[in-house]
């Protein structure tokens, strides 16, 4: 296949060479980390080395890193593992959070996508007692970054715990559990440049959870199942690189700014969603009025450009984004939004190709004329 231009890094990205090598190296050996013989001990060493690397990335102690099969499972473990009953979640959280706690109180966001701190304060004050608040560090669709430090301060004032889904943020923002003061944090391997099939829930030291999967007693009894040694080794290698890599995000951000300028040049009526809030340096969520998200995604795919209409979940189904709805974005705008997410391998010529392809869709749709008529 002639490789299309890939601008969908929030869905997944290529495994970093060092992470792929670490996984391949582990795959060349045999050993169950729970086995006591030398094969088992070698596998155990790989897992524990990765645990240290992940801990270093987020400023935690290695013992507080619980490996899972990925971000979705880590989010579920966080919410399920909380021994109390009261859970509050942000309205723009990933589906794995919203579905894990369907009865949770939802905290609204402002039009910029940022959590309404007053609403959070009110919700916490409304009902005393232990609670868990889950607010993502950065949104997967808009890239909007939440003020986790402030949120943590507020949450802790009420004696509640804060979980943050840092699946998108971890590779792109400086990240330290100690300065953020979050109590639990979710990481996904493949969103960090590691392999798919490994992730982690990181706990503040001393925090205890209800076991999620029981059985062989792996991962301190919280998550049973033979450890995915190659996946974990790859995650460890990716975590080590991620810390070094974040400076490269400056370049990514410059590229994103250029992208957005040129988008607005090409289609002045386009709206960039979440633009008023601090955002991940790589994410651009833009609506082309009058053209459905699906049409844009398909036309760009045919033109050899891979982007998405939001999160890459249930088999490419394009639905109206709950994230944009929560931000109060009008239905016609939300239904015409797409997500462009850059990576360190993105180049200026990728931006050129995208803008060219996207502007062509706009021209075919009748451009400004049609949009005006539709009003």
């Amino acid at each position: 296949m002639d490789r299309a231009i890939y601008l969908d890094h929030n869905a997944t990205q290529p495994v970093r060479p060092a992470a792929a090598a670490a996984a391949a190296e582990a795959m060349a050996e045999v050993g169950n980390p729970s086995s006591v013989h030398r094969f088992g001990r070698l596998a155990r060493r790989r897992v524990e080395q990765a645990r240290e690397r992940v801990a270093t990335l987020v400023g935690a102690v290695p013992a507080a890193v619980v490996f899972t099969s990925g971000g979705t499972e880590a989010n579920t473990l966080a919410l399920y593992g909380f021994p109390g009953r009261r859970i509050l979640v942000g309205a723009t959280e990933h589906d794995s959070i919203l579905n894990a706690a369907p009865d949770a109180t939802r905290i609204q966001v402002g039009p910029d996508g940022v959590i309404d701190l007053t609403a959070l304060d009110r919700a916490l004050a409304a009902e005393p007692g232990p609670a868990l608040v889950s607010i993502q560090a950065a949104n997967n669709e808009t890239g909007v970054i939440q003020p986790i430090v402030e949120i943590a301060g507020l949450v802790h004032r009420y004696g509640a715990l804060l979980h943050t889904d840092a699946v998108q943020a971890a590779a792109r923002l400086p990240f330290d559990l100690r300065t953020l003061r979050a109590d639990l944090l979710t990481l996904s391997g493949h969103k960090l440049g590691g392999p798919m099939g490994a992730g982690a829930l990181v706990l503040r030291e001393g925090l205890d959870l209800r076991p999620w999967l029981r059985g062989g007693g792996q991962e301190r009894g919280l998550r049973a199942g033979t450890e995915n040694v190659p996946g974990i080794a790859g995650l460890g290698a990716a975590a080590e690189l991620a810390a070094l890599d974040r400076p490269g995000m400056g370049e990514v951000e410059r590229l994103r700014e250029e992208l957005e300028e040129r988008i607005l040049d090409a289609v002045p009526s386009a709206s960039i969603l979440g633009k008023d809030a601090p955002r991940l340096p790589n994410t651009c969520c833009v609506a082309m009025p009058g053209v459905s998200s699906e049409t844009q995604v398909m036309a760009l795919d045919l033109a050899g450009i891979a982007i998405s209409a939001g999160s890459a979940c249930s088999s490419g189904k394009v639905r109206r984004s709950h994230v944009l709805v929560a931000m109060g974005v009008a239905a016609e705008i939300a239904e015409s939004a797409i997500r462009i997410s850059l990576g360190t391998d993105s180049r200026p010529e990728h931006i050129d190709r995208f803008v060219e392809g996207w502007a062509a869709i706009f021209a075919r749709s009748g451009g400004e004329r049609r949009r005006t008529a539709a009003r």
């Binding site: 006591v36 996904s188 099939g197 891979a306």
Partner: protein
């Protein structure tokens, strides 16, 4: 290789704990890390390419067990598949009104899953097995009551390798209108399984037990008649809602290849392993006539041998074996000081249980390795017995630990 060739050491004889990844599997998997890295759920060419590969793998897995591709749900492994099958089926019906029947020799994650259901109000029956490790069908028939929703019996045991009469259990469950789940982590790819002929409704597979990668497994979920499950976790709605989370393309592809290799070579490899296993047993028994075989001699996995060496403590024997990697039972509980609950369930006394070793032979196990291992085992057992260690068996270790 001739028998005169010295085998490469250390020798890995713990294939029930985990198997090496077949190099053909690794080779098939690696391009999906960097070149073809798409998320199978993404609506573009990268996603489509990944999705197609995942569907090919799904069809391979289905073919191994006589299922339809749509009946295969990818999971992170057999532990998750077992949890999803057991908790999912019973919770869907409502745990408090349900009864679950299983056996004492099941894998820990099965026993823990039914225990979780017990805490949720389900009635749970954990039945004993016979002395040879096999289930007694009459006993099972008796235990199935009106409210019974699910029977879970492993296809082959991880410690003693005993292969259960799955087809008979399936027929019984079918005639009584209860769901039948089988944990086939050890059996899949080693012995023939057909979900149609065997009346299986739910079946768990593990990647790393059949020369595939760690971190992936599958659950077969029957569609006709449809088996309904409550998911363990939800989110993006992948796997028809049974199992959310990004499908790990490289792992799915690798599992598909591993399954195909296992299916194609099953008969030949089974015969080869059975021959080697019997050779190991015979060589040890010739020198140590008092060894006790745990589990039925015939109805067991071709690559499994579980022996008790009277008068020797396995925790002395295993380290003394040096460059031969074996285990005293399940890897999960290998570090435990308790004797195997599986052997206890067979009625093996504590002392003999503490004297047991599991030999797990695999795809690259050679005759030279087996001959070396047999010699080494005999020599070490004789030495330990002469030194008098383990004379007090398990009790001694409890005191010192």
């Amino acid at each position: 290789m001739t028998a005169a060739n010295a085998p490469r050491r250390p020798i890995y004889l713990d294939h029930q704990a985990t198997t090496p990844t077949d190099p053909r599997v690794t080779e098939a998997m690696l391009p999906w890390f960097r070149e073809k890295f798409g998320n199978p759920a993404s609506p573009h060419a990268y996603g489509a390419e990944a999705e197609k590969a995942v569907e090919t793998a799904r069809a391979e897995i289905a073919a191994l067990i006589g299922a339809e591709p749509r009946e295969i749900v990818f999971t992170s492994g057999a532990t998750e598949a077992n949890n999803l099958a057991i908790k999912g089926a019973v919770r869907f019906k409502g745990a408090p009104a349900s009864r679950v029947v299983t056996f004492a020799t099941e894998h820990k994650c099965v026993l823990e899953s039914v225990e979780a259901l017990r805490r949720e109000g389900a009635e749970v029956s954990v039945l004993p097995v016979e002395r040879d490790g096999l289930v007694d069908l009459a006993r099972l028939a008796e235990a199935i009551g009106l409210r019974t929703v699910l029977v879970s019996v492993m296809a082959a045991n991880n410690e003693i390798g005993v292969v259960q009469p799955v087809a008979e259990i399936g027929a019984l469950c079918r005639s009584r209108g209860v769901l039948f789940h089988t944990d086939a982590a050890q059996a899949a790819g080693k012995v023939p399984i057909d979900v149609g002929e065997m009346g299986i409704d739910l079946l768990s597979i593990s990647g790393h037990k059949l020369y595939g990668p760690m971190g992936v497994g599958a659950l077969y979920v029957r569609r006709r008649p449809r088996v309904r499950l409550e998911p363990l976790f939800s989110g993006g709605g992948q796997e028809r809602g049974f199992r959310s989370g990004t499908l790990p393309t490289p792992l799915c592809v690798a599992l598909g290849v591993a399954v195909r290799i296992a299916r194609e070579g099953m008969d030949e490899e089974g015969a080869r392993l059975r021959g080697l296993r019997d050779r190991l047993h015979a060589a040890i028994r010739a020198q140590l006539p008092d060894v006790v075989l745990n589990g039925d001699a015939e109805r067991r996995l071709p690559g499994n041998l579980n022996l008790s060496f009277p008068g020797v403590d396995a925790r002395d024997l295993i380290p003394a074996l040096g460059d031969i990697a074996v285990s005293s039972g399940s890897a999960c509980t290998a570090a435990s000081v308790e004797p195997s609950y599986v052997l206890r369930a067979l009625g093996v006394d504590d002392r003999l249980a503490a004297a047991s070793i599991r030999f797990g032979l695999g795809r690259w196990t050679s005759a030279a390795e087996i001959d070396y291992a047999a010699e080494q085992v005999v020599r070490t057992v004789v030495r330990l017995r002469a030194a008098g260690t383990g004379a007090t068996g398990f009790d001694r270790r409890v005191e010192t630990s």
